[in-house]
Symmetry: C2
Subunit: 209 residues, 2 copies
């Protein structure tokens, strides 16, 4: 009995999701160049030729992963900004969430690692690289807005808001890359330590808790 159109569609979707999962895993570890299309196929459990029925090239898979990762990051940070809360709360909440996700979510760590690699490695065509860099700027810009809000409210330390945002994201980045390389995560620092870079009275609060 022949398969219906709908069943084929379903097979495609399931397969494609498996490819994405495996591609993220491997790309995040080895980067674009050192990851072989054959390894991804083997990881998924399909032949190497079949992969080309889902993606037109290795690069296409990679770009798909990157776009997805950046898009999700941007959505998340926009949601934080639009919270009805003080900057102080937004900063603490975002850091708490980020630390928690770094600690618990393997896929999130892989995503961070992938973004870091894509941003810091120039193995893509220039136009693609540029487009990545543009999207990458959004979280920095939005965090700067939040820090500005905090400075007006008096909770955030003085200084250039863009620089504070840089410090925020580069620290998160360094941390998530670090934990992405560990086999097992035993402990992760207190997110309030990072908050101490930005919030005036955080150490006071820490000690009084």
């Amino acid at each position: 009995m022949a398969r219906t159109e709908g069943q084929n569609e379903q097979i495609r979707e399931v397969r494609k999701e498996k490819i994405r999962l495996e591609a993220l895993r491997q790309f995040s570890m080895k980067g674009l160049c050192a990851t072989r299309i054959q390894d991804i196929a083997a990881g998924v459990g399909m032949s190497q030729g079949l992969l080309y029925h889902y993606y037109s090239s290795k690069e296409a898979i990679y770009i798909d992963m990157i776009d997805d990762a950046l898009e999700k990051t941007n959505q998340a940070v926009i949601a934080i900004r639009d919270m009805n809360a003080s900057a102080n709360e937004k900063i603490l909440f975002s850091l708490q969430k980020l630390f928690q996700t770094i600690e618990q979510n393997d896929r999130f760590r892989q995503t961070c690692r992938l973004i870091a690699q894509a941003t810091n490695s120039a193995e893509l065509p220039e136009d693609v690289q540029d487009s990545i860099l543009q999207k990458r700027k959004i979280p920095y810009r939005i965090m700067a807005e939040i820090f500005l809000q905090g400075q007006k409210e008096g909770s955030v330390v003085s200084g250039d808001a863009d620089e504070l945002a840089t410090l925020y994201w580069t620290s998160i980045n360094g941390l998530s890359i670090y934990y992405a390389t560990l086999k097992e995560i035993d402990s992760i620092p207190d997110y309030k330590l990072l908050a101490a870079m930005f919030l005036k009275d955080i150490h006071f609060k820490r000690d009084s808790l």
Copy 2:
């Protein structure tokens, strides 16, 4: 007139240093796999074949760069630890130096980027990767010692010293990677902001300056 042995030796040394410089530049941008031996040769201004009279393989160049980078990092942090000073001073001094070097020294940024890539990308044979990870642990261990000293002296916040060291290096790492990817560096945050994660009264000091 034939060249003497000494002159040949000298040519070799000059050439080798040029190769190292160019290899660091390119590896730090594109990683091991995406960097072609031919590009390095072209960057140095020599034929591709000649490179093999200086190094036995592409990987050999890479490993040489990594070892050198890790060695220098370890020496630097050991020198900080052995300073005759309070932990408070050691932490502030090291951060000040690091920020200054990130801002001013192109080669240093490349080195950081290379270490980050080598640590976070699994494109090397496992035994080499392991040896890198071992050497990489030393700065973390030593910073933890300094934080312990600081906790005894009362200047450093409470908490697991290993976690503080992790936060210290991952933040530095994230920052240097970020600046390594920029064409031009206009401004870099105040190093005292980072110090606020570790030192109890840093915000007080900042405001009073």
